[in-house]
């Protein structure tokens, strides 16, 4: 019954923004035998349902909607003739890079890949993960599910809406549901600040007079069959509801925008080392995971704020994978310098650097753990502070980056680590 093992130089798992940019990056780095596996019936991933504008300002210097941004990459992939299989879901990746996928057309297929690029994206934290007391009625949706219902199916999930969590998808859906005729009462955010972009708070909430309740959360859900009301309370500094502050909001729908999680089930089963902070793979300067020849990019690696950075990162992963299969890199004998994230810096991607393999300038992305005003982003090579840049404000919702120059690392041989941290002065 076992079918013949197919072979491809590079297999890209996922045909969303990361997968497409990775495939194009690999092609442009000289590799021709690339196969993109996409579970949906079309390329583009989550961008197809992100019909709002604001994509591509960095990449194309214009404001595109999600489907338009995706279409540019799809057109490029078409032009290059990148092979893709749609309706094909990867079920397993072995540590020797055999990819097992399933589709209606072909059943189970096994592909021996020279290199694998993980580009599976992320998923939303569901209601259950919050353990909010109350009933479990219809009418509780993650913001992304509601977005799919409204934007792809044309169906209205509810008419009277409360949103928990001020992530960008939640904010975007506040405006979307309002435009489609629903009444959005408020957005409750448990943190004292919003994880969403300022632009979205102004244009999706303020424009429509929708209040943003900071330091508030939903404490109870009423309604046995369909949501009938939610209770919202103020929380203290330890995020516990404050007695006596509960207010009942009659509504038929609760949307949740309470966080995104990289979708790493395949990576975990393959044995890829995952970071407990990002929940994505631990990668080196080539965006290569703990399994040689397996690379990661986009939201499966760490959740991004802007798709432009996903595309940029994915192109790097694609190029690295191409170099790997072309044998341009030796076996993994490179000296790796760890990047230490500390003092407000939650993590960095990548988390190790090889001076031999790094490009002349390496982008290191990170997020901070709180809102910081007038702090400096500092980079130390060993004990030597080589960067010290003041930022007026940094917030957990926005990705930050520093650039490491190869020349500077060469000038600091024998360092045990690189440190990225925030400093008050």
């Amino acid at each position: 019954m076992s079918k013949e093992l197919e072979r491809h130089a590079i297999v890209v798992v996922g045909g969303g923004p990361a997968g497409l940019a990775a495939a194009i990056g690999a092609y442009e780095a000289g590799e021709r035998d690339i196969l993109v596996l996409e579970r949906d019936t079309q390329l583009g991933g989550i961008l197809n349902q992100c019909i709002h504008n604001g994509f591509g300002l960095h990449t194309f210097k214009e404001e595109l909607t999600g489907p338009e941004y995706a279409a540019r990459y799809i057109a490029r992939a078409d032009e290059l003739g990148v092979e893709r299989r749609l309706g094909t879901m990867v079920m397993d990746i072995s540590d020797d890079r055999v990819v097992t996928a399933v589709s209606s057309e072909a059943g189970i297929t096994r592909i021996q890949a020279g290199a694998v690029i993980l580009a599976m994206g992320c998923r939303e934290r569901p209601r259950g993960a919050l353990a909010t007391p109350g009933y479990r009625p219809a009418g509780i949706y993650s913001a992304g599910t509601a977005q799919r219902l409204v934007n792809i199916e044309g169906q209205l999930p509810g008419r009277n809406v409360v949103i928990l969590g001020s992530g960008d998808i939640g904010l975007i859906m506040a405006r979307r549901m309002t435009f489609e005729g629903a009444h959005v009462q408020c957005v409750a955010e448990i943190m004292p600040y919003s994880g969403g972009l300022k632009r979205n708070i102004v244009q999706c909430l303020d424009d429509f007079g929708i209040p943003l309740l900071l330091s508030h959360t939903v404490t109870r859900i009423e309604g046995r069959q369909r949501v009938e009301a939610v209770w919202i309370a103020e929380v203290d500094e330890r995020m516990r509801p404050i007695a006596g502050t509960e207010v009942r909001y009659p509504c038929d729908t609760l949307l949740l925008s309470v966080g995104l999680l990289p979708e790493n089930e395949l990576s975990r089963e393959a044995g890829v080392e995952l970071s407990p902070v990002t929940r994505g793979p631990v990668v080196n300067e080539s965006l290569e995971t703990s399994i040689p020849g397996v690379f990661a990019c986009g939201n499966v690696l760490h959740v991004h704020d802007l798709v432009d950075y996903v595309s940029e990162e994915a192109a790097t992963a694609g190029a690295s994978a191409a170099r790997f299969v072309q044998g341009a890199v030796d076996a993994d004998d490179a000296q790796r310098i760890p990047i230490v994230a500390t003092d407000g810096v939650r993590y960095t991607v990548p988390s190790t650097v090889s001076v031999e393999r790094m490009p002349e300038a390496l982008t290191v992305r990170f997020r901070v753990g709180n809102v910081y005003r007038d702090h400096y982003v500092s980079v130390y090579l060993g004990d030597d502070r080589i960067q010290h840049r003041k930022k007026r404000v940094m917030a957990p919702g926005e990705m930050e980056q520093v650039t490491l120059k190869r020349a500077e690392l060469l000038a600091h041989p024998d360092i045990a680590s690189i440190t990225v941290k925030l400093e008050e002065e």
């Binding site: 019936t41 909607t65 489907p67 934007n151 979307r176 972009l197 102004v202």
Partner: protein
């Protein structure tokens, strides 16, 4: 002489400066609270001529796979016209095939701006 002040949040960066825009007889005389030039420009525009791109969807007929096609205003429309733009699309249906940029509804709500498709269906 009518003097008026308006409070708004700048959207250009995460700083989110709280701007105070002063108008005299409808003319902006000052923008305060901004940290950079972009805040000044944004403040002036937002109180005198706020505009937005409106995005939504309309049903599409003749596609085997898609029920809806996403659309947007081809350029900014006055912020106060947003709901009229959406309402004008009620009952509008696109016919597949649709290409990005195809005009779905010309001169929506009298704005002089077309509604165009943002997806190939």
């Amino acid at each position: 002489m009518a003097t008026e002040t308006r409070e708004l949040t700048c959207i250009n960066c995460p700083l989110g400066c709280q701007l105070t825009v002063t108008l005299v007889d409808g003319e902006v005389t000052s923008v305060a609270g901004n940290t950079c030039k972009r805040g000044d420009t944004y403040g002036r525009k937002e109180v005198t001529n706020p505009t937005r791109i409106v995005t939504t969807t309309v049903p599409v007929e003749g596609s085997a796979t898609e029920r809806m096609v996403s659309v947007k205003t081809a350029s900014d429309v006055p912020k106060g016209k947003m709901f009229e733009v959406v309402a004008a699309l009620k009952g509008v249906t696109a016919q597949a095939p649709v290409a990005i940029g195809d005009v779905i509804l010309a001169n929506v709500a009298g704005t002089g701006v077309d509604i165009i498709a943002t997806r190939n269906v």
